[in-house]
């Protein structure tokens, strides 16, 4: 579904991704972990099409297409969804209006009829229940005045409405208390299916208690330096990153090739 090869990206002249390789197949959940500054959020933003990053080498193939060739909105319409680490507040844009416009763009792209206000509202009400969000949020401007937790849940709520094929969750767990974390994770798990894939970027193992990954990757120095199964996350939780990073440095800053 997604194949990233030798990806190099930089921002304002600073090299951030330095030869990243990653393959996601349908139905899989991958977790990306790594210390601060390793390039996790850059990867998420690059996948969504943020033009603040320049791709200097490598390729990303998504469902047979060159993803880097697509505009951000084309990626979204093709089923790529980024749950933002810091959702943007957009004063004056009503949440319902925004989400209905987004959903109808996706439906148009897929040759489906646009939803009218009544059908849309019904759909939205169901999805809000999953995320335990108050319906009043719909009448407010997008993310404006939302608490940190509400913003994160709102991202997953949007994901539930838009039903992406590839969901990238950028530190969706940060700033959530344990109850909110459980709600968000349940929401994400409900959206898992044989035809889609999820890339979960996180700092902490605790999210992976709820969203169980098929693979765990450690991102450091702009590349994946270790890949394992969910037990790798538990290892990292227990021992920290230092042992891995030391091994990486000793190895002459070359990623250990661990077959997926």
């Amino acid at each position: 579904m997604l194949e990233i090869k030798n990806l190099h990206a930089e921002a304002a002249g600073k090299k951030i991704l330095k030869g990243l390789n990653l393959t996601l197949r349908k139905g899989e959940v991958h977790a990306i972990m790594g210390p601060n500054g390793s390039g996790k959020s850059t990867l998420a933003q690059v996948l969504a099409g943020r033009d603040a990053y320049e791709i200097t080498a490598g390729s990303i193939t998504y469902l047979g297409q060159d993803l880097l060739d697509l505009e951000p909105e084309e990626r979204a319409r093709e089923g790529v969804f980024l749950a933002f680490q810091y959702p943007v507040e957009i004063p004056g844009v009503n949440s319902t209006y925004f989400l209905k416009a987004a959903l109808n763009e996706l439906r148009k792209h897929r040759g489906l009829p646009e939803l009218d206000a009544i059908d849309f509202l019904q759909l939205v009400k169901e999805k809000m229940k999953i995320l335990e969000l108050p319906q009043s949020l719909l009448n407010r401007p997008v993310n404006e005045g939302f608490s940190g937790g509400e913003k994160k849940r709102n991202e997953i709520f949007q994901m539930a409405v838009l039903e992406p094929r590839l969901a990238v969750l950028d530190e969706t767990d940060s700033g959530l208390d344990i109850d909110a974390l459980r709600i968000v994770a349940e929401g994400v798990n409900k959206l898992k299916g044989p035809e889609n894939a999820q890339l979960v970027i996180t700092h902490y193992q605790r999210l992976l208690d709820y969203i169980v990954p098929d693979f765990v990757h450690v991102l450091y120095d702009g590349k994946i330096i270790r890949t394992g199964d969910k037990s790798l996350a538990l290892d990292l939780e227990e021992r920290g990153y230092d042992w891995l990073l030391e091994a990486y440095e000793k190895n002459g800053r070359r990623a250990e090739s661990v077959p997926a």
């Binding site: 969504a48 099409g49 943020r50 033009d51 603040a52 505009e71 951000p72 909105e73 990626r75 979204a76 319409r77 969804f81 980024l82 933002f84 959702p87 943007v88 957009i90 004063p91 004056g92 844009v93 925004f98 989400l99 416009a101 987004a102 959903l103 763009e105 996706l106 792209h109 401007p141 997008v142 949007q158 838009l162």
Partner: protein, 450 residues
């Protein structure tokens, strides 16, 4: 030989059409007017003759050249030039779902057939100015021309010199008026230079509550001129929301002054929404003349093409413990020019003043310009004053967020421009007006090209 060169100049001076209009008015109605009205006209005319139209060397008019107004062949609208105002032709400027009081002034004159005077709360007086003058209503005599002083500027002076048409509204003490009062000033002359000086006086009695909407529009694409003055008087504890909508034709000239006077613990909200006119200049000047006043001033200006839109706001904090909040947004496209000048005066007495001012501008083209200037003059020491002005384009993060959800670049931009306007419109509490304006913004910014 010398005489012959001087003579034409003299006659040219005498022939200033604005002064001529005054002389015509003086001959026709002035003799029958009460002395206080005549005094107002005379002092207005004397002041106008003394100062004349300002030019751009005048600090208050640096960016707004009113030369084209001064060169108009100014005249009172003539019957033969008028387009008929009918329920159909005025309907775009009315708020359909409303059943409340609506006054329609066509070329300055109240049109009873187009107006609706039902639904007025008991005790509220709404009187057209000729009637108020004829009846010498004491509350009109006590207030008219007392706040918007003829020495304020040439346009207030002109308006004063020509005072005749408009409306006076009085809300009795302790009365809460639920339904808003709508006033539409419509120009319909097809002749360049057709000029109307309209006047509004609102006296909100103590602890009364009311909302008044004042719209200005035109039916003909001519260089007509609308020069309006509104005086808002808030007695102790009164609460007034004044919503001013400017939808003039883009061939027209529009100059306005809103002058407010606030007594103790009164609460004023003004909105100035300016969408039309080739040149619009709007002065909003509240005086917080007693303790405990609240004043909120909202503004939205949208201009494109060769339009010029200029807001000058001046808030006088004269007494302690008053708060003022000011939010003005501008959206400028094409070669449009915007001007925002926000003055805050805090007089020595006015301790514990809290004044906030924000002016944000979106420039949608490289040729659009804005001159924005805060002007704080603070003579008290225990004061909180903040101001901020921004000029810029749309926020990249917000555009990306919308695009990342599947909304196209152009649609995302339009949505954000609309939102920028809505954040001011959402401050209007009158649902019909807010919805109406929001629809207009949708048409302007979001409706896909047919």
């Amino acid at each position: 030989m010398e005489m012959s060169t001087i003579a034409p100049i003299l006659s040219e001076t005498k022939a200033d059409p604005f002064v001529l209009s005054y002389e015509t008015l003086e001959k026709s109605v002035d003799a029958s007017s009460p002395p206080w009205v005549r005094a107002l006209r005379h002092s207005g005319n004397a002041h106008f003759e003394e100062v004349g139209f300002p030019d751009t060397s005048h600090e208050e008019w640096r960016f707004t050249n009113v030369g084209p107004i001064s060169r108009l062949n100014a005249h009172a609208p003539r019957a033969e030039d008028l387009i008929a105002a009918t329920p159909e032709s005025i309907s775009p400027y009315l708020f359909k779902s409303l059943a409340s009081t609506t006054l329609v002034f066509v070329n300055g004159v109240l049109d009873l057939a187009l107006s609706c005077l039902t639904g007025l709360t008991k005790g509220v007086e709404v009187v057209d100015l000729p009637t108020a003058i004829r009846q010498e209503l004491p509350w009109v005599a006590a207030h008219l021309g007392r706040y918007a002083r003829v020495d304020e500027n040439a346009f207030v002076a002109l308006n004063g010199s020509m005072i005749e048409n408009g409306v006076a509204i009085r809300i009795p003490a302790n009365v809460k008026v639920e339904a808003p009062v709508f006033i539409l000033f419509l120009s319909t002359s097809q002749a360049d230079g057709a000029t109307v000086h309209s006047r509004i006086l609102i006296v909100a009695g103590h602890h009364s509550e009311a909302r008044v909407v004042e719209s200005h529009a035109g039916l003909a694409d001519s260089a007509y001129f609308s020069n309006s003055v509104a005086e808002l008087v808030l007695e102790e504890g009164a609460k007034l929301e004044h919503c001013r909508l400017q939808f003039e034709r883009t061939t027209a000239f529009h100059v306005a002054t809103v002058q407010a006077h606030q007594a103790r613990s009164s609460n004023l909200t003004t909105h100035s929404i300016s969408l039309g006119a080739r040149l619009a200049r709007i002065n909003v000047t509240p005086v917080l003349d007693a303790e405990g006043c609240e004043c909120t001033m909202n503004g939205l200006y949208v201009a494109e093409g060769d339009q010029l839109v200029d807001h000058h706001t001046t808030i006088h904090h004269a007494k302690p413990n008053c708060n003022s909040h000011e939010f003005y947004h501008g959206i400028l496209d094409g070669k449009a020019q915007g001007v925002f000048n926000g003055k805050i005066f805090v007089r020595p007495d006015a301790q514990r003043t809290d004044a906030k001012q924000t002016n944000r501008n979106l420039l949608l083209s490289d040729e659009a310009t804005i001159n924005t200037k805060p002007q704080l003059e603070i003579f008290a020491d225990d004061v909180k004053c903040t101001h901020g002005a921004t000029v810029g384009q749309l926020q990249d993060e917000a555009i990306f967020y919308l695009r990342a959800r599947g909304i196209g670049l152009e649609a995302a931009r339009r949505m954000l421009v609309h939102a920028f306007a809505s954040s001011i419109l959402n401050r209007i509490t009158i649902d019909e007006v807010r919805t109406y304006l929001d629809d207009q913004m949708f048409d302007l910014f979001e409706r896909p090209p047919a």
